[in-house]
């Protein structure tokens, strides 16, 4: 099964994580600081290893002695592209941005909801197995043009299907249209009026509420933490945009 490396200087937290993860059927390896984590990684995933012991995901705390999470992250990214989820009590925006910038795939703050944590782990693993690392899926060009892919969200315009990390997501037609519009131009901010006009094909008269409601639903279906969305971002006072990862 999949192997996960858990790294935190708090033994209790490492223990709790181990219990959760083994409960989901994963193998767990432990480390208590950045140096240990790198050692284990080199042993299991390094050039001299035979691949049988390879680690598939790393859960790493930031505030650790000897070598902190960010440093270890940078080192790690020099040789491996396995998914890394940063786990930390530092919840400022700056810290999140820094973490993601140095190469982390996700960021979850303590105290965390265990259910959310497991969901994120699963999502990262699925994506890793499907898209990167383990196997490369060759997507025929024609097919690629019909598909809109942003992060873990895949929208297939031929089959009108939307998947999140490989798992199907049920969207209403309006929700689908809104998602497609936003995914076609990632990073562009659409005002509620513009979205309404495009999707309902009607001029918007005081019905901007509707758009907000639909976006809210979309977010709840697509995001692990709707309050802190990774993909569907609300630009308050202006509109909405799809984050361009």
């Amino acid at each position: 099964m999949y192997k996960i490396l858990v790294c935190d200087d708090e033994r209790d937290i490492v223990n709790a994580l181990k219990i959760y993860l083994t409960g989901e059927g994963y193998d767990v390896l432990e480390a208590y600081n950045g140096c240990e984590a790198l050692d284990i990684l080199n042993r299991c995933n390094g050039v001299n290893s035979d691949g049988t012991e390879a680690i598939h995901l790393v859960l790493m705390d930031i505030m650790m002695p000897q070598m902190d999470g960010i440093e270890a992250m940078v080192e790690l990214r020099k040789s491996y592209n396995i998914p890394v989820i940063l786990l930390t009590a530092k919840s400022e925006d700056m810290d999140k941005v820094l973490g993601l910038n140095v190469g982390a795939d996700d960021y979850i703050t303590k105290p965390f909801n265990p259910v959310e944590l497991i969901a994120r782990v699963k999502s990262q693993l699925r994506r890793y197995m499907m898209l990167g690392g383990a196997q490369m899926q060759v997507v025929p060009e024609e097919e690629a043009r019909q598909k809109l892919i942003i992060g873990g969200i895949e929208l297939d315009d031929r089959s009108k299907e939307v998947t999140l990390d490989g798992e199907n997501v049920n969207l209403t037609p309006r929700e689908y249209d809104i998602l497609k519009l936003l995914m076609k131009h990632p990073g562009k901010v659409y005002s509620p009026q513009e979205i309404y006009q495009e999707v309902w094909q009607d001029p918007a008269y005081g019905t901007e509420n509707t758009v907000a409601v639909h976006v809210r639903h979309l977010r709840e279906k697509l995001e692990y933490d709707p309050a802190n969305p990774r993909y569907l971002i609300a630009v308050w006072g202006h509109g909405y945009k799809m984050c361009d990862n």
Partner: protein, 538 residues
């Protein structure tokens, strides 16, 4: 050329002596030439009769017999030697070896001040000359001490050469030293007088500084006017119009210069003060050349500026300390809290037969979640109230934001049984704020509405724009009776629900108010019966 001889006293004496000798010799040879031409004209007989001195007879004979060439040669040699020794003496004079170093020093005769020196020299030579004149007159008159007189004349002549040489030497020594003009009596007298004047004026200035500014100015004006008056009176009888006009002119020039300087300095101080008041604490004023009072003002300004610098530095330090404290503490609290939440959750997954244990576990779960929310709110509240947030201010479309907010809360509103009415004007209403934090404020207020409204009632949100401000009003009916004022409610940890049963932390309104204030707006709360009204004014 004479470098090696400088500083050697023996060399000085030698050169002195040799200079005297060669100069004397040159003069003598010159005299011989004159004598010879006289002898040719008048014949020697006359001279003998005049002087009747033996040795002189012999001497004149000797000259008569000497060839012209030898005399001229002697003269030339004498002149060359004189020049050589004179220059040499002048060059090496004044040098002494002090602590193994060659220095020029004034010693002995050179110490006499130059003007005095000059006077003494003139007097001596004058005396010598008059003496010589007397003596030669005596000689002409005829005397039996002719021999001695002639000798005396020779001696006096030599003495004159010596004195002249010494005088020139002192001159050369003095000129070798820097600022030789200071070594005169005149200079010393002038310097002395100036010193006294300076002292007096410093004294006056000191004393003036002690007298109050206004009294001082009136004193000066009074004194000047009085002096003018006296002068005018004095000039009344005379026709000294020209003098009066000149005086008037003179006074005006002084006045103008004074006023100009005064205005300049004042302008400098004013400018520096303005810059400091605008926040530029680097403004400096050069107080060195100012009048007393303005100088003092400049100094005060400097100390104000320093005080400000210190105060600001301290404030920044304390703020930094505060934020560090809060981030560190909150981080340290979150770590054990994480474990608590995790293990409570894990416990929940274990099979617990004991019903009471399950109940207690639920309490633990609930409270630990509440603690988590409280911690986050505390962090936000402290950041917002110390202004430690980075604001990205922009023109936010209030109408769009409101509609987005309503969209987000639609479900929660439905669950709470609250019907929301919003009123937004047709034209675009823009607020200058940070969109994320404005959303936070709306978020807090909407959460309050959802949590505390009476089910089945309506809530209202109003957006209106008057000439100078934008007002957003949130109105709802409270489920529980509100027995406290709006002000109290906004205090931290105060909640309308006095039983403290619900999940709120009591910080929502406080955070909203801090954020609103940070963005330049104002939040007003009023409670009337069960009607709860929040107004945001921008």
């Amino acid at each position: 050329m004479f470098e090696k001889l400088k500083g050697k006293p023996s060399a000085k004496i030698l050169f002195f002596v040799l200079s005297v000798l060669s100069i004397t010799f040159s003069i003598v040879e010159f005299g011989n030439i004159l004598l010879k031409s006289m002898l040719l004209e008048y014949g020697s007989g006359d001279l003998y009769r005049e002087l009747q001195v033996d040795y002189i007879e012999d001497y004149v004979h000797g000259i008569e017999n000497m060839s012209d060439i030898s005399i001229y040669l002697g003269l030339v040699v004498g002149i060359i030697c004189s020049i050589f020794f004179f220059i040499g003496y002048m060059t090496i004079s004044g040098y002494y070896v002090v602590d193994k170093e060659l220095q020029v020093q004034r010693r002995g005769l050179s110490k006499i001040p130059l003007d005095l020196n000059f006077v003494i020299f003139m007097v001596l030579e004058g005396l010598a000359m008059s003496l010589l004149a007397e003596l030669s007159y005596v000689l002409e008159m005829g005397s039996n001490m002719a021999g001695i007189i002639v000798l005396m004349i020779c001696l006096i002549a030599v003495a004159m050469v010596v004195v002249a040489l010494l005088y020139v030497m002192t001159l050369s020594v003095n000129f070798k030293l820097p600022q030789w003009w200071r070594h005169t009596i005149c200079y010393k007298i002038i310097d002395f007088i100036l010193g006294i004047v300076r002292n007096v004026s410093d004294n006056i200035r000191c004393n003036m500084a002690r007298i109050k500014l206004q009294r001082r100015i009136w004193m000066i004006v009074g004194a000047v006017s009085f002096a003018e008056f006296i002068l005018l009176l004095a000039c009344l009888d005379t026709d000294a119009y020209g003098f009066l006009i000149l005086l008037w002119f003179f006074e005006k020039i002084i006045l103008i210069v004074f006023v100009y300087r005064l205005i300049n300095q004042y302008a400098q101080i004013k400018d520096a003060t303005q810059r400091i008041s605008e926040g530029d604490l680097e403004a400096e004023v050069d107080t060195t050349k100012m009048f007393i009072d303005l100088k003092e003002e400049g100094e005060y300004l400097k100390s104000i500026k320093n005080g400000l610098d210190v105060a600001i530095e301290q404030r920044m330090k304390s703020e930094r300390f505060q934020t560090e404290l809060i981030t560190n503490v909150s981080h340290d609290i979150k770590t054990p809290l994480t474990s608590i939440i995790n293990y409570v959750d894990l416990l929940g997954k274990e099979k617990l037969e004991n019903a009471k244990a399950k109940e207690y576990l639920e309490v633990l779960a609930r409270q630990s979640q509440r603690l988590k929310k409280l911690l986050q709110d505390l962090l936000d509240a402290s950041k917002a109230s110390t202004g430690n947030v980075e604001l990205h201010m922009e023109q936010v479309n209030a109408g769009v934001l409101l509609n987005q907010t309503v969209g987000e809360f639609q479900e929660k509103l439905m669950e709470s049984g609250v019907e929301l009415n919003i009123k937004v004007p047709n034209e675009e209403v823009r607020i200058y704020a940070d969109s994320r934090y404005l959303w936070r404020v709306f978020d807090n207020l909407m959460n309050n509405i959802c949590k505390y409204s009476q089910s089945g009632t309506r809530a209202y949100i109003n957006l209106e724009k008057t000439d100078d401000r934008t007002i957003i009003t949130f109105l709802n009916i409270s489920r529980e009776p509100l027995n406290i004022s709006g002000e109290e409610l906004m205090q931290r940890f105060v909640r309308g629900d006095s039983s403290r049963n619900t999940e709120g932390s009591g910080l929502g309104l406080s955070i909203a108010q801090s954020l609103t204030k940070l963005m330049g707006g104002e939040m007003q709360l009023s409670v009337e019966g069960d009607l709860f009204k929040v107004q945001l004014l921008f």
